[in-house]
């Protein structure tokens, strides 16, 4: 097995998961389960691709994906924070809407049958073993993960976010604006999820295909629980999933596994996540206000 290739593939696989998982942690620590994650990643992937195709600039495309993700977060906020709709239903509905809209516009703009290719992000340190990676990967590990960890743990904003997710009544009494804090968490979280999706089109594929996220949002939801809503374990869990996923890619090209169906190997990481949840998921303490809308009586 080629260790260098395995490492490089792991970094590629883990990057969208990291953005999505960290985004979901922000939402859930604020008390909102965001099942819109799959659709937000999907929309991020599509918008990033479409705007890059239109402008020729990856930076503008990525920025557009961030805006799309923030809007998806606003929609979730309107539904779950302002209106207090059931969070499962709001999330699934948001995912269905965003996937539907992305596929609709994709069909309108790129439905001609020819595959539209957009410029792909450049690798940092190309050719250098173990250092070859995309800038977004480096940013995820070196900036986003440590920064959210620090913000959640040591800043006023993080404390407020955790407070509205644990005990909104007390937070409200202490003068924290519960709705505004939850909206902020959903908007930032949505933007991060969309960056994860955009990574798939702008770094991995250079184009957009249907079903591109392929359940990665659900994997991120599972990783959040596996990590018990903490950033550090989420990074480790993401790496674990990515190593298995990259490992199955490596296995698939080995002669000994030539007759094992490809799809079975692709399904392996999903099954491992379920097994990991089964083993580690007992006695969890969910955020205190998880799934609960907050209103002053």
């Amino acid at each position: 097995m080629n260790l260098i290739a395995l490492f490089a593939a792991t970094l590629v696989t883990v990057t969208p998961l990291l953005y999505a998982t960290i985004g979901e942690i922000l939402c859930e620590r604020a008390g909102v389960l965001n099942l819109g994650i799959e659709g937000t990643m999907y929309a991020g992937a599509f918008v990033g691709f479409a705007i890059t195709a239109a402008t020729g600039s990856i930076g503008v495309g990525l920025l557009a994906a961030v805006v799309a993700g923030a809007l998806a977060g606003l929609l979730m906020g309107l539904l779950t924070v302002s209106l207090g709709v059931n969070q499962h239903v709001a999330g699934i509905g948001t995912t269905l809407l965003l996937i539907g809209l992305s596929e609709f516009v994709n069909r309108l703009r790129f439905g001609g049958g020819t595959l539209t290719q957009v410029p792909k992000m450049d690798l940092l340190f190309p050719g250098v073993p173990f250092l070859e990676m995309y800038a977004l990967t480096l940013v995820a590990f070196a900036v986003v993960a440590p920064l959210t960890w620090w913000v959640l743990r040591s800043t006023g904003a993080g404390l407020r976010l955790r407070a509205v997710g644990e005990n909104p009544e007390a937070a409200d009494a202490a003068g924290i604006n519960v709705s505004r804090t939850r909206y902020a968490a959903l908007v930032v979280g949505g933007a991060l999820m969309a960056v994860g999706g955009a990574f798939l089109t702008l770094a991995v594929l250079g184009t957009f295909t249907l079903n591109i996220t392929n359940g990665r949002g659900w994997v991120a939801i599972a990783l959040v629980i596996f990590a018990r809503w903490r950033i550090g374990p989420a990074v480790l869990g993401g790496l674990l999933f990515a190593v298995i996923d990259a490992g199955q890619l490596q296995l698939a090209i080995m002669p000994a596994f030539a007759h094992v169906p490809r799809e079975l190997l692709i399904a392996l990481p999903y099954l491992v996540v379920i097994a990991a949840l089964a083993l580690a998921g007992e006695g969890l303490r969910y955020p205190g206000a998880y799934l609960k809308p907050y209103r002053r009586i």
């Binding site: 709709v85 539907g100 939801i221």
Partner: protein
């Protein structure tokens, strides 16, 4: 503005809110439809009215509603007892796979044997696909939302693996199974239409589900577990057994739906056996407010939109994905607007006045 809990709601409120949700849906989707180069009026005529104007298209709507009744019932049965089975998609596919396996093993069977056998195969496979999340939930308290969701892509991968591998059509090498034997094809029930016996099966199961959920002890206890688990436990209802039963019944219904889709419509297994029916089932159950008769009506409405979206794609060159957008928008508008059955809006000014009158901060 803020929302205040309302004591009672006037009788006209719910119908008015449903109408408001419909109007909002039309207004919000008009933009994307214009973007697609069609007029919203023409598009909605296709989506809602056109399919109901000829007997052939009405039967096509009933045909399209068949899988949605199955998956809608599946979501409804689970949600009523507070079990969030979001894995209807995977269970539907598992049922389709299982029934195909049985048809390949026993190609020649008469309908009296094949129909019940196919339904049971689909139901058992669906229940099996839902078993692990259900057991993890009742035994170890692991959130079923995540595990059922994760099994959806796994089922799809299994389906693709089978169609690209062992079940690849031997004659044309397409990634689809060989056709099921003639004895397996569900008979069509109206001449000149594709509507098949599976629709009747769906209605019979719906009646059965309605009876069980509203007229029996099991239905009552499952509703109690869903509405007030602590109260239900206190009054001696076995929570775990109720949840497990609801989870498996739900998954079995979705699996039976997959079997019926193969035997009734496709007559072979393809990778497109489900176009998101499991997820749409959640929309059906939610819009129906977990009522069985309403679920049949909602399934018919969504099928109407689906059939209409197909014909609008041909006539107006409007991509059929617009049907999905309309469905999702309708869901979000409905759940958003129906909140106001229980709440009323108070303007900030009035609240200040109330505060001053109360003398509190």
């Amino acid at each position: 503005m803020r929302m205040l809990l309302r004591g009672t709601a006037p009788r006209w409120l719910t119908p008015a809110l449903v109408a408001l949700a419909a109007v909002l849906t039309l207004a919000l989707t008009a933009g994307p439809i214009r973007l697609g180069g069609a007029s919203p009026g023409a598009a909605f005529t296709y989506y809602l009215v056109r399919p109901l104007t000829t007997s052939y298209t009405v039967l096509e709507v009933l045909l399209a509603s068949t899988p949605l009744i199955f998956t809608g019932l599946a979501a409804l049965v689970a949600f009523r007892s507070g079990y969030y089975n979001i894995g209807g998609e995977g269970q539907f596919i598992a049922g389709a796979i299982a029934v195909t396996a049985v048809t390949l093993a026993f190609p020649a069977l008469p309908l009296v044997v094949s129909l019940p056998l196919g339904l049971v195969a689909g139901a058992v496979a669906g229940a099996a696909w839902g078993l692990i999340p259900a057991v993890l939930r009742v035994r170890r308290g692991i959130d079923e939302v995540v595990t059922t969701l994760l099994l959806n892509p796994v089922a799809l991968l299994l389906l693709q693996g089978l169609l690209n591998g062992p079940w690849r059509n031997p004659t044309n090498q397409f990634p689809e199974s060989a056709p099921v034997g003639a004895g397996w094809e569900l008979p069509r029930i109206v001449g000149g239409s594709r509507l098949h016996l599976g629709y009747v099966v769906a209605l019979v199961l719906a009646v059965l589900a309605w009876v069980v959920l509203t007229q029996t002890r099991v239905g009552l206890t499952s509703r109690a577990v869903g509405l007030a688990p602590k109260g239900a436990a206190f009054s001696g209802i076995p929570i775990r057994r109720t949840l497990l039963g609801a989870a498996l019944a739900s998954a079995a219904l979705a699996g039976a739906g997959g079997a019926v889709q193969v035997l009734g419509l496709q007559h072979r297994l393809t990778a497109e056996v489900s176009t998101g029916f499991g997820y749409t089932g959640i929309v059906v159950a939610t819009l129906a407010a977990l009522s069985v008769p309403a679920a049949i009506a909602v399934a018919t409405l969504l099928a109407d939109i689906t059939v209409g979206a197909e014909s609008a794609a041909r006539a107006l060159q409007l991509p059929p994905q617009m049907g999905k957008v309309v469905t999702a928008t309708l869901l979000l508008c409905s759940v958003g607007v129906l909140v106001f059955r229980h709440y009323t809006l108070a303007l900030r000014g009035r609240r200040r006045g109330a505060r001053a009158a109360g003398g509190a901060s």
